[in-house]
Symmetry: C2
Subunit: 679 residues, 2 copies
């Protein structure tokens, strides 16, 4: 148990470090009164959304918590040691802690990013290096909160109950929050973005982040809601689900060391991330912010790789090498998927250039080409994931003694151990984006804007890379959950030659399509409302366009919030309902296949939509650098249309796939013993 | 063997009937000299494409045929009766007959549809009823050729070799042709269509089918190349593959009656189709052509259902009811998928109306909505397919004595038995479309145009329904092939808990995305060339717009042809290469999972793309009826862009999924015994 305490402590240290960063950031100056006003509006919009979202989730969480009070933990932990000593409340408590921790991480991160934006703008008036530091620290609060709370939660509950199966309820709590945070956040951000762009940029002809645009604050809030809160909850869930799945698998095929190792990997990763935050700095203003962030990421990877080697050697003896190599597959996957995401979405590469070229013949060819790029971009990352699954299994099976399936879980754990740094870098994105927006809206000079633009450009890349990370880790998490599910339902074979298994597979593969449809539709409906509202304000409030009257920002924030809350329910219900219906109606074998099918098609759709969206976005930016005539040309107009189509792809429907496949896995894992007994 | 002769005879009767219809159609008058000239140009363009396509396939077919000469049939027919008496040439001959039969069906059908178009136009000068009869007979030649040649081929070879496994080579030959015909045809038709639309309609502002458009002939050729030749080859392949897979499965779990029954089901279906062709007629000009075609389809379904009941009773005794009910699942699937296709793609329904409404806010929202509809439209058809698989298995397993997997094959066979009528109705589409084009180009009066327009509108619906049929039957065919593969590789379990199986599943699920990308890209590139050429002609040939100079139609036909031939190779190679690489590298279990994964994601993508495309098309047509201001409005312009994006979706990438999943199954079935021995 000593070792579990070490992991718990590492989590606490991470949370404390996050707190310190927050204090330091808050001590920075905010800048002019106008800057403060804008920052406050964004902050209030973000908090309003979070409050409403969590208030909507409250009854759901409450009902599940109460229901879990009446479920005997012994049901879920058959065969494990010490089950009979478990308090009746173990499941309910674990669930509640998971949900609440995820919510706290969300609040902390949003507080930090929305408080850092104007401070970053102000710092950019001094130097690029200073601005980078403020923005990165603002993001690091989220990163370290997510990793710290997840690790402290899992290890703390394990210390309390000493049973890995029971605390899967913690992952369930995290899942419930992540599902709605991702989908709701995704709808919010794109309803605001599409609305702001279509009426503001295209119809009224005013630039991005213009204070005359009524939807501009909602748009800036959206960046935080989607990239910070959504992504944070997503990776919190992956982190919790993967470590618990790994512990469950470890418990069945190894001894105590198999259960404790995932927690220690997490501890090493967190320490690595904390150390690495200090490497993210620019020594002079000629430096490249991207390189500074890259150094942070690489250093986290290297320290984790080295550190886990020693831990593995200490715990596993002869099996250490095989297990450690499996872990390395996860770290390498991380790097490989990041590279591939850039390959398909950066405008220095061929794919995006081709989309830009296709814009010359209009929006239709731009979109056809973008869809083709998205489809194409699935193959290489899927190959990487397949290699990670096959490779980690192989080394753990052959070099370690028959620990193949534990190896797959280790690959997932290796990938996720760096989540603290990945989320930090990802949350840097909305801070930089907002900082640029505030510079524009507050009318600061071009030299400030130049600095914030540089940070914003880097933020776009890191956002794309983090998306790749989230998808890859979701895929490996889903695999770990799938394996844990089979163990928990005591299945030894899910035979594809059994028609019921094929039926399950097909049903599973269909769910991501249905959820994607719902998500796209939601954005479509919400954006429509937003467009009507922005048009109404331009029409009914005289003086907006002249800058003499202030638009009603709050009304637009409200529309996005309401739409997001309302529309997140149906896709959420599909995600939760499918495993229940398949499991109780068709049985554990069909449900296993459903998980496999949903993972395959969910990951493919996630990559497709995320990369297509990123590529369209950057094709537009590429043209804006002056290629094919730049802004104001037909080609640019076509590229803007492609970008708008890509928005709900990359920021709503695509990201929704991650919590979808994980929540399906988590719920299946929970009902596994029940349905196994039924069929 | 007497019974096999009956099936063979039914096939021959079908071919003869097709020949008679062709003679009757050719006896009709062509109309004015201008009409003849246009019809000849389309005919020549179509033949030029077919010749070039088959010439490109010739070396591939020749190499495979020669290679098969050196393979001992005994290898592929282990355990079957009479294997030792098989001539060495059995595999090569079967393959060659399959490829050549498919090509002959393609030629016959294209000859008939391209010769019927002007004749339909001419008939439309007399009456709607007369025009319907000519157009339908023109299409029926293709339908009866496809079904007749496929059934005669399979039963003829079975009479010759008395071994179902060996004649799977026939399906392989059909597959090779179908793969390239579908992909090549799809690229051809959309390169021409997109090129003609973007420059002609949007840039030059001239109407559809205007003789001043240089790409107009290529566009009309494309309708035949895609909908007739492509669809015909696709269903020829499904027909051959399903009946052979059913025979192989029947051979392993039943006696001779299990082998012969699929052939007799085919015979009943063909007789039903021939009888039903006589029901397709309009008694007066007030009648609805759609109802006339529906009567033909329903009558085919009903006669087949009744006829097969007697055949089943004769052959199977106590097992008859279960097997017959399984077959009914196929017929019902047919009807259900047709209904669902209409639900999502007809402009009398909600989905399409919503896309039209979304066009009010521009092309981006039109496309977002269309993608959402496409995603959504996958769920219900997948449920129907899943019910067909589960239901047919259940009745054959429980009501008949343990014949579950034969039941699944029977559902596929039931669905395909009506292929003769489905292809007839589908091929009616391009005839009607071309007839309208010729009326327009030849400057015939509005009363003629009114008649051809009515037929054309019906043709759009039947094309959508036939697409649904092709996808549904491809899914069931793939399932039958998958089952036959497992039997042939002597697999008793493909366990999803084996990581190698998961690896295979993920690889398989990725292939359809990669092929879709290639197909979209090909259209994109080819359309780009076409656009450049049309623009060049408008620029360099003076007098085109005034109608004083004739554009160079042949050049556009040539561009489409060359592009289609060149671009069909890469996706074709992926389809053929994947099972070989997975099978020989990762083994038979991984390959089995690859088939399952490819089927799941291929069918989903096919439905998604096909329905999204159809919905966009009809949203445009809906606006053209005058809704939201009709033609010339911003909403209409947005809808045209959606329609253009939908073109390669519904006519290139979507349809390419069918031969893809079938060819993967056919090749796997062929290499099954080899890899089973290797691993």
């Amino acid at each position: 148990m000593m070792l579990a305490w070490i992991a718990f402590l590492a989590g606490i240290v991470s949370i404390i470090t996050a707190g310190l960063f927050l204090v330091i950031v808050l001590k920075e100056e905010v800048g002019t009164a106008k800057m403060k006003e804008l920052s406050d509006a964004i902050f209030e919009g973000a908090m309003a959304f979070l409050n409403r979202q969590y208030r909507t989730l409250l009854p759901i969480v409450a009902i599940i918590t109460i229901a879990l009070f009446f479920v005997d933990p012994a049901l879920f932990a058959h065969g494990a040691v010490g089950v009979n000593n478990l308090p009746k409340s173990a499941l309910a408590v674990s669930f509640l802690v998971g949900a609440v921790s995820s919510a706290i991480a969300g609040y902390a991160g949003m507080l930090s990013t929305t408080k850092s934006n104007a401070r970053t703008t102000h710092a950019a008036r001094t130097s690029l290096g200073k601005a980078l530091t403020v923005a990165f620290r603002g993001g690091a609060v989220m990163g370290l909160s997510v990793a710290g709370l997840a690790l402290a939660g899992v290890s703390g509950l394990y210390i309390l109950y000493e049973n890995a199966v029971v605390i899967n309820s913690f992952a369930f709590g995290a899942s419930a929050v992540a599902l709605f945070a991702r989908i709701g956040g995704g709808i919010y951000t794109k309803a605001a973005d599409v609305g702001a762009d279509l009426v503001g940029k295209i119809e009224a002809g005013i630039p991005e982040d213009d204070p005359r645009n009524p939807a501009v604050i909602a748009d800036n809030v959206g960046d935080n809601v989607g990239d910070t809160a959504g992504m944070g909850a997503d990776l919190f869930e992956s982190y919790a689900a993967t470590s618990i799945a790994a512990m469950i698998i470890g418990n069945t095929i190894l001894d105590f060391e198999g259960v404790i190792f995932p927690l220690l990997v997490g501890a090493v990763g967190i320490v690595a991330a904390i150390i690495s935050t200090f490497f993210v700095r620019l020594n002079n203003d000629e430096g490249n912010p991207q390189s500074a962030l890259n150094i942070g990421l690489w250093s986290t990877n290297v320290i984790t790789a080295v550190g886990t080697y020693f831990v593995a050697s200490y715990l596993f003896g002869d099996n250490a090498l095989g297990i450690w190599l499996a872990l390395l597959f996860g770290l390498v996957t991380n790097v490989a998927i990041g590279y591939l995401t850039e390959l398909y979405t950066s405008y220095h590469k061929k794919s995006v250039k081709e989309i830009a070229e296709a814009s010359l013949t209009g929006p239709a060819t731009n979109i056809i080409k973008g869809l083709a790029v998205g489809f194409k971009s699935t193959a290489a990352p899927m190959l990487v994931i397949v290699l990670a699954i096959g490779g980690s299994y192989y080394v753990a099976q052959e070099i370690a003694a028959g620990l193949g399936i534990y190896g797959i879980a280790m690959a997932a754990m290796g990938m996720l151990s760096t989540a603290g740094m990945v989320v930090a870098i990802d949350s840097f994105g909305p801070v930089a984006d907002n900082a640029g927006g505030i510079a524009e809206m507050a009318g600061l000079g071009p030299e400030v804007r130049k600095n914030t633009d540089k940070l914003d450009a880097v933020g776009n890349t890191t956002a794309a890379v983090a998306k790749g990370f989230a998808i890859g880790s979701a895929a490996l998490t889903a695999m770990a959950l799938f394996t844990a599910y089979a163990k928990s339902a005591e299945l030894t074979s899910i035979n594809l030659l059994d028609p019921m298994v094929v039926v399950g597979l097909f049903i599973g593969a269909t769910v991501p399509f249905a959820v994607a449809s719902r998500a796209m539709d939601a954005v479509s409906r919400a954006a429509f409302e937003m467009i009507e509202e922005v048009r109404r304000q331009f029409r009914e409030i005289p003086g907006i366009m002249e800058g003499t009257a202030k638009p009603d920002y709050a009304k637009c924030v409200d529309i996005s919030t309401k739409a997001a809350i309302k529309e997140m329910v149906a896709p959420g219900a599909m995600a939760i309902g499918t495993p229940l219906v398949v499991g109780f109606l068709l049985g554990p074998l069909a449900l296993g296949a459903t998980l496999a099918g949903a993972t395959a098609s969910g990951v493919l759709l996630a990559i497709f939509m995320s990369n297509a969206g990123g590529a369209w976005d950057n094709a537009k930016k590429y043209i804006e650098t002056g290629v094919y005539g730049g802004k104001g040309t037909e080609a640019h107009a076509a590229a803007v249309i492609g970008d708008t189509v890509g928005d709900p792809f990359k920021d709503t429907a695509g990201p929704a796939m991650n919590p979808l496949i994980k929540v399906m896995g988590t719920i299946s894992l929970i009902i596994a013993p029940i349905i196994a007994a039924m069929f």
